[in-house]
């Protein structure tokens, strides 16, 4: 096993080649699919495919830690968060595709391709002289495994950087709370008791609710004004938005209620049959 791992340092084994030729096109397919997919969710899933392929490639390349981190952190956590956000925003909502700056898309394409070409050639040139070093075996990493060495360097050489990330996490948590949390008392929602006290302190126009149209009315319409006990119209009950019924139109009903016309109708004051109280 160990000799096999050492051989791998310079040549690619058959298994590795097969893995590469399976995973490489898959990763590329995922990357292209991500760009060209119309649906945002499909796009995210294509990215997941790319990330999974890369994760497996890392593992084949003797970097199990990197591979697992790739899958657990990127694919598992970050991409799922992405999907959550997409689902919350609504997968059908799409950005405006109107170009604000003229020729922006063309310029971006040319510059992007140019930058990619520059980076790829630069890195390709600089890697020609490099001799690959395996991550495992007796010679590399002092004979210890990759994971073990990572743990060692995190808790010795890079202890301070590692501890300092806690400041970052605290800041992020505090920030999320600052931007997201509204105290109930300052949201403006008052308790019923506070509202009652405010009414009687005179901070509202009147202590009681406005009279509805139905107190002495016989109609269900909101346009029907409430009648005060003396038969006059209660002005607060008149809606400012709706043309109310003229007071003289109600004379007949007023007479009916006060009993000055033909005898009072018991039904008009009977709660079980009265309608329009709440309207």
């Amino acid at each position: 096993m160990i000799t096999l791992a050492q051989d791998v340092q310079n040549t690619m084994s058959t298994g590795e080649s097969i893995a590469f030729w399976v995973l490489g096109p898959l990763a590329l397919f995922g990357a292209l699919g991500m760009i060209f997919a119309r649906n945002a969710v499909h796009s995210a899933l294509f990215l997941v495919l790319t990330m999974l392929s890369l994760g497996v490639t890392y593992m084949v390349q003797q970097a199990p830690f990197l591979g697992f981190v790739q899958i657990i952190v990127y694919t598992g956590a970050v991409m799922m968060l992405f999907l959550f956000v997409l689902m919350l925003v609504g997968k059908d909502s799409s950005d405006s595709v109107v170009e604000v700056l003229r020729g922006q898309r063309l310029a971006a394409t040319i510059l992007g391709v140019g930058l990619a070409a520059l980076i790829v050639t630069a890195i390709a040139r600089s890697l020609t002289e490099v001799t690959p070093v395996g991550l495992q075996g007796v010679e590399a990493n002092g004979g210890h495994g990759n994971v073990e060495n990572l743990g060692r360097s995190i808790f010795t050489d890079w202890l301070f950087a590692f501890e300092l990330t806690s400041a970052l996490l605290i800041t992020a948590a505090v920030g999320a709370m600052v931007l997201g949390f509204v105290d109930r008392h300052t949201r403006g929602r008052k308790t019923q008791r506070e509202l009652v006290e405010m009414r009687f302190r005179g901070e509202h126009d009147r202590p009681s609710p406005l009279p509805g149209p139905g107190v002495f009315a016989t109609s269900t319409s909101v346009a029907t004004p409430a009648l005060l006990p003396d038969g006059s119209v209660a002005p607060e009950s008149l809606s400012r938005l709706i043309d109310s019924v003229g007071a003289e139109d109600l004379d007949e009903e007023r007479e009916a209620i006060t009993g000055s016309a033909h005898g009072a109708e018991a039904r008009a004051l009977n709660p079980s049959t009265r309608e329009g109280e709440s309207s």
Partner: protein, 538 residues
């Protein structure tokens, strides 16, 4: 297979017990105090009732700043002259680092006093509840103060989380100045940036503008961090290490392909220049300076610049000194672009905060001249310039926060017309600060420019110095324009009034003005301190 190999190697060779290199707690104590106080402040937020938080946080923050300063003073008394490396070489506590720490702590003291002030703007410049949407009824209520009879007793409140966040940012800046490897530097960069992004969006007034500034700063800052990180990765690929000294060794004598070195260097420096709001990487500066709450703008303008240039100085002199002939020409160009952008665009501004932002871009160009002179003179002059510029800036933003009308700060230049007739004292102080920014003798700005330019001249940068002088002359014009506007114009009838500040803001402005004056008249003590030693090259 790999897991199996790991298992075999584990079985063959049980891991030895790791021992940690001894940590020089005395040297890093100021940093630990600041970061520890920040954590304590978060606990205060969680545990204290609302009405006690403001006073507890202010007391804690000021105590931490003073405590860190005192600890540092004790340490300096018997610190090794050529610095010390601690925490497994991640932190270099040398003379420049100590100078920068002192500067940062003093500037943060001034800025925290301004942040804590609740008299200029009732309740402070920070919003009471950031989560309430701008423009709603609740938002209006929290801006104008809740009803006097509210049960929780506090009419005006502020989001007191800003105090621990400020301390976190300050701690990140201190680490950034003294980080001896790029990885620690990157994490410190994030620790200092994240709280700043957040606090930019917490202004009490003009909240949409403030939130826009925060989003802009965050997005552009994330880009810059990505640049830094990519440069770091390429440099690691080149040198096989992220320690500055190892990169310097690799660059000094190796036949490795230089593509990775130059690519990494370029990306890394772009990330750093962004933080220092230099030259063509300045796009965020005017919007963020304008939108952020003014006390925070003061903190950001002064302290971030100190930290960023501290980092640039260290990276250039420790890590990339041997390749200076490759990058020097480009940095000349960047410095020139920065000075010209700052001076010329500053002329066209009508908002005073934007104008100061462009002025800071021009100053970043001047600072960069000092930073690329890799002699001890260059180092000490840049450090002095940072100290001088920082105090002037904090006081400038303090004065800007005083000139107000019904809508909050009156930042439009036309509203400053005839200010001297309304308040001669404020106009006088502001004139003095603008003269210091312009670099007129008897102010710290003059001495700062003088030492930087003379260091550059002695290192053979005469053309650059000539351009810098022209740029400062152009920049002086827009400072003078404000002075003329304040003294020789009639005040508008419905113009702004000058708020009489409370003790905190008064103390902060006084501190800035006194230091600006002192450094202009008797700069020798500060120059000696800045000249005390160079970076620990290990």
């Amino acid at each position: 297979m790999s897991a199996l190999v790991t298992a075999i190697s584990l079985a063959q060779d049980p891991p030895a017990k790791e021992t940690l290199a001894p940590i020089d707690y005395g040297a890093i104590m100021p940093m630990l105090i600041i970061l520890g106080a920040a954590c304590l402040g978060v606990l205060f937020e969680a545990l204290l009732p609302r009405h006690q938080r403001w006073s507890a946080q202010v007391a804690l923050t000021l105590l931490a700043l003073v405590g860190a300063g005192v600890t540092m003073a004790f340490y300096i008394a018997d610190a090794p002259a050529d610095g010390t490396l601690t925490l497994a070489g991640a932190i270099a506590v040398d003379r420049p680092a100590l100078f920068l720490w002192g500067t940062l702590l003093a500037l943060a003291l001034g800025a925290v006093l301004m942040i804590a002030d609740r008299t200029v703007e009732p309740g402070g410049a920070f919003v009471a509840q950031a989560a309430i949407r701008p423009g709603t009824v609740q938002d209006r209520e929290q801006r104008l103060g809740a009803h006097p009879d509210r049960r929780d007793g506090a009419r005006f409140q502020m989001q007191t989380e800003v105090f621990p966040l400020t301390l976190f940012a300050l701690g990140g800046m201190m680490v950034f100045c003294s980080a001896n490897d790029l990885l620690t530097m990157f994490i410190a960069l994030e620790v200092l940036s994240l709280p700043l992004y957040l606090m930019c969006g917490l202004a009490r007034r003009r909240r949409l503008l403030s939130q826009e500034a925060a989003v802009k700063y965050f997005l552009l800052g994330a880009f810059a961090s990505a640049f830094f990180l990519y440069g770091l990765a390429l440099l690691y690929g080149y040198a096989g290490s992220v320690r500055l000294a190892d990169i310097a060794n690799a660059a000094a004598g190796s036949d490795r392909s230089d593509t990775l070195l130059f690519g990494g260097m370029a990306l890394l420096i772009v990330g750093l220049l962004f933080k220092g709001s230099v030259g063509p990487f300045h796009a965020w500066t005017p919007d963020v300076y304008q939108g952020a709450p003014t006390p925070l703008t003061g903190f950001m303008a002064a302290c971030t610049k100190v930290a960023a240039f501290g980092g640039i100085l260290r990276v250039l002199s420790v890590g990339l000194e041997s390749t200076q002939w490759e990058w020097r020409g480009i940095m000349w160009g960047v410095a020139i672009v920065s000075m010209i952008i700052g001076a010329v665009l500053g002329l066209t501004q009508t908002d005073i905060k934007r104008m100061i932002a462009y002025s800071s871009i021009a100053h970043a160009g001047f600072l960069l001249i000092g930073a690329i002179v890799l002699t001890p003179d260059g180092l000490s002059s840049t450090l002095f310039y940072l100290l001088a510029y920082g105090f002037t800036t904090v006081a400038t933003f303090g004065v800007i926060s005083l000139v107000r009308d019904a809508d909050g700060e009156a930042t439009h230049l036309s509203q400053w017309a005839g200010l001297a007739k309304r308040s001669p004292l404020v106009a006088g102080v502001f004139t003095f600060l603008l003269l210091a920014l312009a670099g007129i003798p008897l102010t710290s700005g003059f001495i700062g420019k003088f030492v930087v330019f003379s260091a550059a001249l002695s290192d053979g940068m005469a053309p650059l110095v000539v351009i810098a002088l022209i740029a400062s002359a152009v920049a002086a014009f827009f400072y003078l324009r404000v002075i003329v506007l304040m003294y020789f114009s009639e005040p508008a009838p419905d113009g702004p009034t000058v708020t009489v500040p409370g003790a905190f803001t008064t103390a902060s402005i006084t501190l800035g003005v006194v230091v600006t004056l002192l450094l202009g008249i008797v700069p020798a003590f500060a120059l000696d301190w800045a000249d005390a030693g160079t970076f620990a090259l290990r």
